[in-house]
């Protein structure tokens, strides 16, 4: 055999070996190069951490604007850009435009704008947000508002396939990013306020075909659980969930409108081949109308990626009475918990508790308040795993048409979806939070498909007897369940954080500041972007230079009142007054502002 033919054989053999793993996408590999930002969370573990260290705690004060890009869309801009090699992929809220931008000169390589029925807007509870794109094997994936999942050719923007995962006429919409894990794409559903039955679906990335679908509520086969093998924390140890674990906890057919939606940030452990995600609130908000634990709403699910089979579940807020959705990011971190090394899952729940679980077994290790003002429960009982609810803050005990006052946190949660960051360098979590309490009054409501199924009014205010601000940015030790430091903010922090190997932590504020702090929470730099920030901070490297970018553009839940035709003050989600004036205000559209250090 000549050298040449040997080489040919070698490359052919490699190609063959490659096809043996053809199932695997390139996404995981791309995330390992810190020059890219190849997934919304930066990696499979939801770390939002970068190894880049050109920008450091010493020079961050010199950061300056490199370029900006406007999406031309108003309303709330969540999520952030993807960067693969020399191209950035950026999304917008409804109508869900997609831009491929050349990093070299910021020219637009291609643009995609789906045609969507605008009637989807009024059935989006919380503004027409979208949490960003996904990438795998030369394809860009977009989960549109109207539940259409689309694959685009990353080079041309041409549509490759489409698959609709829900029905907006039933109140089903989508806001989450698609998640690429190994060879599959996972996506969820929104609409817990509309009596939607939550589920996640796994898709073939080449065709969009559904491979499995797992519901949050209902019979065992539709949950994809094994009554004898799917485990949950019971009486201080893991035990099987048993038959009809969900059905038993609902009255009659209520599980069919059960909520438990899945619009958060999932994660994946390639060694265990397990995927982790959380489920949202049970419908309706009025707890008296749905007696029982309402399983498996408000739950952390751990499933086998290939089959969807649930390995373990843990319900954080049984029988929710306050809208504390459990969808927030699941962060996978190998840390010491109470002195012992663990493969942990860390989750900052809306209910104000930060949970540290053993992600292999599902054992509950730590559950502590990450804001001391949290008062609806005294603590989580570590034996039963249940929060110990304080009677006077129970909207169920107080009943409908009674205003339950002074509940902390508010329905926004101590934290909403805005993802925290985990730095493997420090072993700490950097968490954007709300510091807000509420008065909450449930009322009786009938279900109509595609109409809000909320049944409560609420009003919110800054946590009393504190610093007067409505937010904090904190550093958290998940191994001990203790706060390391806290930095007060005037407003809630609704932007996703980023930590880097340069020992800088970034986050955005509602005033529109992008801030850089050091590892002690000391502010190093801030810059006022054109609008409030509810997007997530991203970093990448191009031609030897580190960039930091963030979307600004706050829409919050703007326009819902107008769009849904609600006219009375408190109708729908506490949408009080005010929005009638919307047209009077000049609201700047979404802008990506990109920063770098100046050339020397």
């Amino acid at each position: 055999m000549s050298l040449q033919s040997r080489l040919i054989c070698l490359s052919a053999c490699l190609a063959l070996a490659g096809t043996a793993f053809a199932a695997d996408t390139d996404t995981e590999r791309l995330t390992k190069d810190p020059k890219n930002w190849a997934m919304q969370a930066g990696n499979l573990s939801n770390h939002r951490y970068s190894e880049l260290k050109q920008i450091t705690s010493k020079n961050a004060k010199n950061l300056t604007v490199a370029w900006t890009f406007s999406t031309g869309v108003l309303r709330g801009h969540e999520g952030g850009p993807l960067v693969i090699g020399d191209t950035m992929y950026l999304h917008s809220p409804f109508p869900n435009k997609v831009f491929a931008i050349a990093l070299e000169d910021q020219s637009i390589r291609w643009k995609y704008e789906p045609k969507q029925d605008p009637t989807v807007i009024p059935v989006m509870c919380c503004d027409t947000v979208n949490r960003g794109l996904a990438y795998a094997n030369g394809k860009i994936f977009l989960q549109q508002a109207d539940t259409t999942l689309v694959a685009l050719d990353a080079k041309t923007g041409n549509e490759l396939w489409k698959n609709k995962v829900g029905d907006p006429k039933l109140g089903e919409t989508t806001t989450n990013t698609p998640h690429i894990f190994k060879d599959k794409l996972l996506t969820g559903i929104s609409g817990g306020e509309f009596g939607v039955r939550g589920r996640i679906t796994a898709h073939d990335i080449n065709t969009g075909k559904v491979l499995w679908k797992a519901y949050s509520t209902g019979p065992d086969n539709e949950l994809i659980v094994d009554p004898n093998k799917t485990m949950t924390w019971t009486d201080g140890k893991m035990a099987p969930i048993g038959a009809n674990s969900s059905l038993k906890t609902w009255q009659g057919d209520q599980w069919k409108l059960g909520g438990g939606t899945t619009w958060g940030w999932y994660s994946y452990d390639p060694e265990l081949n397990m995927v982790y995600y959380g489920t949202g609130n049970p419908s309706t908000w009025n707890p008296r109308q749905r007696p029982g634990d309402n399983k498996w709403s408000m739950t952390i699910f751990a499933r086998d990626l290939d089959t969807g089979m649930a390995k373990w579940v843990y319900q954080m807020t049984p029988h929710d009475e306050w809208d504390y959705d459990g969808v927030n990011e699941m962060i996978l971190a190998d840390i010491k918990v109470k002195g012992k090394p663990r493969k942990a899952l860390v989750h900052f729940d809306r209910n104000g508790f930060a949970y540290t679980m053993d992600r292999v077994s599902g054992e509950l290790l730590v559950a502590e308040k990450y804001d001391p003002v949290v008062n609806w429960a005294t603590h989580v009982d570590m034996k039963s795993g249940r929060p110990q609810v304080v009677a006077k803050y129970s909207t169920d005990k107080n009943g409908p048409d009674v205003n339950t006052k002074g509940v902390c946190p508010s329905a926004l949660g101590t934290k909403d979806q805005q993802p925290a960051s985990y730095s493997p360098r420090t072993g700490l979590f950097y968490v954007p939070t709300n510091h807000v309490c509420m008065d909450y009054e449930p009322f009786q409501i009938e279900y109509t498909a595609g109409q809000p199924y909320v049944g409560s009014t609420l009003s919110m205010y800054a946590a009393p007897n504190s610093h007067g601000g409505m937010g904090n940015f904190i550093a958290w030790d998940a191994g001990t369940g203790k706060m390391v430091w806290t930095k007060p903010e005037r407003f809630s922090v609704w932007s996703g954080a980023l930590s880097t190997a340069g020992d800088v932590v970034f986050y955005g504020t509602l005033e529109g500041y992008l801030k850089a702090v050091d590892l002690n929470g000391k502010e190093l730099w801030k810059f006022k972007t054109p609008s409030g920030i509810i997007g997530n901070v991203t970093t990448w490297e191009y031609k030897g230079k580190q960039y930091v970018g963030v979307l600004s553009g706050i829409g919050g839940w703007a326009g819902i009142g107008l769009a849904a035709g609600l006219s009375k003050g408190n109708e729908g989600l506490g949408a009080v007054g005010g929005y009638k004036d919307l047209a009077k205000y000049t609201e700047l559209g979404g802008v990506l502002t990109v920063f770098a250090l100046p050339d020397r």
């Binding site: 800054a462 919050g556 839940w557 005010g578």
Partner: protein, 118 residues
């Protein structure tokens, strides 16, 4: 003697910083330009508003610190958001106060600079 006298002055200035802060006049150029651009846009981009809107932002800058301006104007803007998130700015006393105070200062400045309230 000179350095210590300067030091005394600095200390005095710091001590009186609380009442003086309101007159810090610390708006960055970008903050003023941003205000003028938006204000001009609100008034059909007529050139006369380059002068009128500049007059308004200079007055606002004399009345409050830039950080306070950013927070207060944002509180007012976000009251227009519907739903839970907007509720935070409409309900919460702290945000309501900020928005109200800003509206007042802006109205005064508009009046002084012949800019109709929009």
């Amino acid at each position: 003697m000179k350095p210590s006298r300067l030091l005394t002055l600095a200390v005095l200035a710091a001590a009186s910083a609380v009442p003086l802060a309101a007159h810090a006049d610390d708006f960055p150029t970008s903050g003023r330009v941003e205000y003028v651009l938006e204000c001009m846009q609100k008034h059909d981009s007529k050139y006369e508003y380059l002068y009128k809107c500049s007059c308004v932002v200079d007055r606002i800058a004399k009345a409050m610190r830039y950080d306070d301006y950013v927070a207060m104007s944002m509180a007012l803007r976000n009251q227009a958001l519907a739903g839970e998130r907007g509720g935070l700015f409409r309900d919460a006393a702290a945000a309501k106060d900020m928005a109200g105070k800003y509206k007042e200062i802006q109205a005064e400045a508009n009046k002084a600079c012949a800019v109709p309230q929009r």
